[in-house]
C-alpha cells in the first residue's frame, strides 16, 4: 500500500442487473494532484465516484482510499473526504450562511474556529454579498461556489467532484478551476469528472472512460503524443464532399468536421498518411490542402472511444 496514492482501485466493477456500469476498473490517483475522469454520459464516471466514497457497494473489486479499505470502512472515511454532487444538493430554503453553518456543525468543526472558517470561505468563494440570500434563489455559478465551499469546509484530504461544472457559464468554470488549483497546491487530492475537453486538459492526469471501461489513462501530454494515430487536418472548399471521399478510404479510422476543417485519424501502421489523403482527394477532384497536425485531447478521445471494428485493420 503506497502512501503516494490517494486512491488505488483494483478490478472495481458495478453491475445494475445486466448493465455493467463500471467494468473491472484499475485506478491510481497520486496524492496532491487533480485527476480527471473524462467520458460521455453513462460511461460510469458517477458510479465510480459513488463507489469510491462508499455510496454504492462494488459488485466486485476493492479500492484503497486514503489508506482505508473500500468497501467496508466508508464511515471512517467520511470526515476525510469532501464530495460535491452532480445536482445541487444543499438546502434551497436556507441562506448561504445557514448552509455553511449547518455543514460546519455536521462535520463537528471545532466550535472556536467555526465562525472564522465560514467567514473565510465566504470571502474565498466570493459569496460575501450572498451571505443572507436563500441558496435556492442563486445563479448556477453561485450555487456551485457554495457547493464547493461546503465540500471543502472541513479541509478534506480528498475531494470528489461529480461533473461540478455542468450547469455553469464559461467564466464561472474558469474561476472554479482556479479554485481547484489552489486547493491542489495546498495538498488536496482532487478527483473530478467532466465531459469537457478543455477541463480534462487542465488535469494533471486523467482517465478516459467509455461504457464503464477505462480505455486510456495518463497525463494529457502523454495521451496526446501516444494516440497510435496520424492526425491529418484537411481544409476543403467543399468539406462535405471531402468527408464523403475520406469516409470511403479503408485506411481512415475517423473523420471529424470542425467548421471548414476536417480532422482525419489514420492508424500509425499506415505509412505516408498525408499522401493517402491527398491523392484520394485529388482523384475525386476535391480541392483541399492537407497537413499533419498534432493530436488534441479531442482526437485522443475519438481514437480511444472508437468501436474496435471501426478502426479497420
Amino acid at each position: 500500500m503506497s502512501a503516494d496514492y490517494a486512491i488505488e482501485a483494483r478490478g472495481l466493477s458495478k453491475h445494475f442487473g445486466d448493465l455493467k456500469a463500471v467494468d473491472n476498473l484499475d485506478l491510481r490517483v497520486p496524492r496532491g494532484q487533480i485527476y480527471g475522469f473524462l467520458g460521455p454520459n453513462g460511461s460510469g464516471k458517477s458510479t465510480t465516484i459513488r463507489m469510491l466514497c462508499g455510496l454504492l457497494t462494488p459488485t466486485e473489486g476493492t479500492a484503497t482510499v486514503l489508506d482505508t479499505q473500500i468497501p467496508g470502512h466508508a464511515r471512517d472515511l467520511r470526515p476525510r473526504i469532501g464530495y460535491m454532487t452532480q445536482k445541487f444538493s444543499l438546502f434551497g430554503d436556507m441562506t448561504v450562511f445557514e448552509n455553511l453553518q449547518f455543514i460546519s456543525e455536521i462535520y463537528s468543526f471545532p466550535k472556536s474556529g467555526r465562525r472564522e472558517r465560514v467567514d473565510e470561505l465566504l470571502v474565498t468563494y466570493d459569496l460575501t454579498e450572498q451571505r443572507d440570500q436563500m441558496a435556492g434563489t442563486m445563479s448556477g455559478g453561485q450555487k456551485q461556489r457554495l457547493a464547493l465551499a461546503c465540500a471543502v469546509l472541513h479541509r478534506p484530504e480528498l475531494l470528489l467532484l461529480d461533473e461540478p461544472t455542468s450547469a455553469v457559464d464559461p467564466q464561472s468554470r474558469r474561476d472554479f478551476w482556479a479554485n481547484l488549483f489552489r486547493l491542489a497546491e495546498n495538498g488536496t487530492t482532487i478527483l473530478v469528472s467532466t465531459h469537457y475537453m478543455d477541463e480534462a486538459e487542465r488535469c494533471h492526469r486523467l482517465a478516459i472512460l467509455d461504457h464503464g471501461v477505462k480505455v486510456a489513462d495518463g497525463t494529457p501530454q502523454d495521451l496526446q503524443s501516444d494516440t497510435g494515430m496520424h492526425v491529418i487536418e484537411v481544409r476543403a472548399d467543399d468539406p462535405y464532399a471531402a468527408q464523403a471521399v475520406l469516409h470511403e478510404l479503408p485506411e481512415v479510422a475517423s473523420v471529424t468536421q470542425l467548421g471548414v476543417r476536417l480532422r482525419v485519424l489514420i492508424p500509425e501502421r499506415h505509412e505516408h498518411p498525408l499522401e493517402i489523403v491527398a491523392s484520394a482527394l485529388a482523384d475525386a477532384d476535391v480541392k483541399a490542402q492537407s497537413e499533419i497536425a498534432a493530436a488534441t485531447l479531442e482526437d485522443v478521445f475519438v481514437a480511444v472511444t472508437m468501436d474496435p471494428e471501426e478502426r479497420r485493420q
Binding site: L55, T57, Y83, D93, M94
Partner: protein, 366 residues
C-alpha cells in the same frame, strides 16, 4: 458529544426549514382547528328538525293529538299536511321531506287493537341516520291511552346514556378526533420529510457526511414530537372552550398516551418514507393507511358493530388503541394502567416500526 452536536444541527435545520415552509406551518395550526370545528359543528349525529309531512286520513281528536306529540319531540318538524299517503311518497321522492307520517282512517281502532300498527312512518332510507331516527320514533310511547288509563301492554323503553348524558356529539367526537388529527399530521410530515430530501438531492449530500442513520432519523422526528404534543394541547383547549369537552381523568396520563401514539405514528411515517421514492408515493401510502384508520378505528362507527374481519384490521391500527385510551381517560376517568393493553400496543408498534425503518434505511444509495 460529537453525535449530540450533529443531532442538534439536524434538529435546528429541521425547525428552521419548517418555520419557512408556510404551508406546513399552517397545517400544524390550521388542521386541528379546522377539523375540530368541522366535526364539532357540522357533523352532528344527534339529529333534530327533520322535515316531515303528515297525511291524516283519520282526522279525529286522537290522531291530531298523536301528531302534535310527534311534533313536540323536535326530532321532526311537520312542515306540510297532505290528503293521502300517495302524496307523502311524492314529497319523499322529490326530497322535500325526510319522513312521512301516514295516519290511517281507522287510527282510533288500531290504537286500541295492539296487534296492528297504529300509524305508518314513511322514511327516506337512503340516509342511514334518518333510519335511526325513525327507529327512535317507532319506540316512542304513545303517551295517551283511551280511557285515561295506562294499559298493561304499554311498553315504555327509556334510554339512558352514561358519560354523555346530553348525547352531545362533540363529547364523543373530540377524543377520537385527537387520534385522527395527530395521525394525519404526524404520519404525513414524517413520510414526506425524508423522501423530500431524497427528491431534492439533499440526502446524497447528507449520507456522505459523518451523520449516522440514527442521528438523521431522530433529528428529523424530534421537532414533530413537540409539534404533536402542541397539537394535542390545541385540540384539548378548543374542545374545552367551544364544546365543553371534559377531561375527567388525569391530564398526565393523557399526555403519556399521546406521546406513545405520536411516536407510533412517526415511526410508521419513517417506515413509509424508506419504502417509497417520491413525495407523491408517500402521500398515496399515507392515504392508504388513513382511510381504514378513520373508518375502522371506532372513530366513526362503533367498533363492536363491525364485521369480525374488519375488527381484526382495526385492532392492528394504532389509532384504534389511542381512541380507546382517550375516550377512557377523558370521558370515563380511567387510569392509564386500567387501559394498559392499549398502551402497550402503542409502545410495541413503535418499537417494531422503528426497527424496520432503521433496517430499511441504510446510508447507501443502492
Amino acid at each position: 458529544m460529537k453525535s449530540l452536536s450533529r443531532l442538534g444541527a439536524i434538529i435546528k435545520k429541521e425547525v428552521r426549514q419548517l418555520r419557512r415552509d408556510r404551508l406546513t406551518a399552517g397545517m400544524v395550526f390550521g388542521l386541528p382547528i379546522i377539523q375540530i370545528l368541522l366535526f364539532g359543528y357540522a357533523i352532528n349525529t344527534d339529529v333534530r328538525h327533520l322535515r316531515a309531512a303528515v297525511a291524516d286520513e283519520a282526522g279525529t281528536h286522537l290522531s291530531r293529538e298523536f301528531i302534535a306529540d310527534i311534533g313536540a319531540t323536535q326530532v321532526v318538524d311537520i312542515v306540510q299536511s297532505v290528503a293521502t299517503p300517495a302524496l307523502l311518497e311524492d314529497l319523499l321522492r322529490r326530497g322535500e321531506i325526510s319522513i312521512g307520517i301516514a295516519v290511517p282512517q281507522d287510527f282510533d281502532r288500531r290504537v286500541v287493537d295492539r296487534s296492528r300498527a297504529a300509524a305508518q312512518l314513511l322514511v327516506d332510507g337512503s340516509d342511514p341516520t334518518i333510519l335511526g331516527v325513525a327507529n327512535r320514533l317507532q319506540t316512542m310511547p304513545l303517551g295517551f291511552v283511551p280511557g285515561g288509563q295506562a294499559g298493561p301492554g304499554t311498553a315504555r323503553l327509556e334510554t339512558r346514556a352514561y358519560y354523555n348524558p346530553e348525547r352531545r356529539t362533540p363529547v364523543n367526537i373530540v377524543p377520537g378526533l385527537m387520534g385522527v388529527i395527530l395521525m394525519m399530521t404526524m404520519m404525513l410530515f414524517t413520510a414526506v420529510a425524508i423522501v423530500r430530501e431524497r427528491e431534492r438531492g439533499n440526502l446524497e449530500l447528507l449520507i456522505n457526511t459523518p451523520v449516522s442513520s440514527a442521528e438523521l432519523m431522530i433529528g428529523k422526528v424530534t421537532p414533530y414530537i413537540v409539534i404533536g404534543l402542541f397539537q394535542l394541547a390545541l385540540i384539548l383547549a378548543v374542545g374545552r372552550l367551544l364544546f365543553d369537552v371534559p377531561v375527567r381523568g388525569s391530564i398526565v396520563d393523557l399526555y403519556v398516551a399521546g406521546a406513545a401514539f405520536i411516536a407510533a405514528k412517526l415511526a410508521l411515517g419513517l417506515l413509509i418514507s424508506t419504502a417509497v421514492q417520491t413525495q407523491f408515493q408517500a402521500m398515496q401510502m399515507t392515504v392508504f393507511i388513513l382511510m381504514p384508520s378513520i373508518l375502522l378505528s371506532g372513530f366513526m362507527f362503533p367498533f363492536d358493530g363491525m364485521p369480525v374481519a374488519a375488527q381484526y384490521i382495526g385492532e392492528a391500527l394504532p389509532t384504534t388503541h389511542f381512541i380507546r385510551l382517550t375516550r377512557g381517560i377523558m370521558l370515563r376517568d380511567a387510569a392509564l394502567l386500567e387501559l394498559a393493553p392499549d398502551f402497550y400496543f402503542l409502545l410495541g408498534f413503535t418499537l417494531v416500526a422503528m426497527t424496520a425503518a432503521a433496517l430499511r434505511f441504510n446510508k447507501r444509495l443502492d
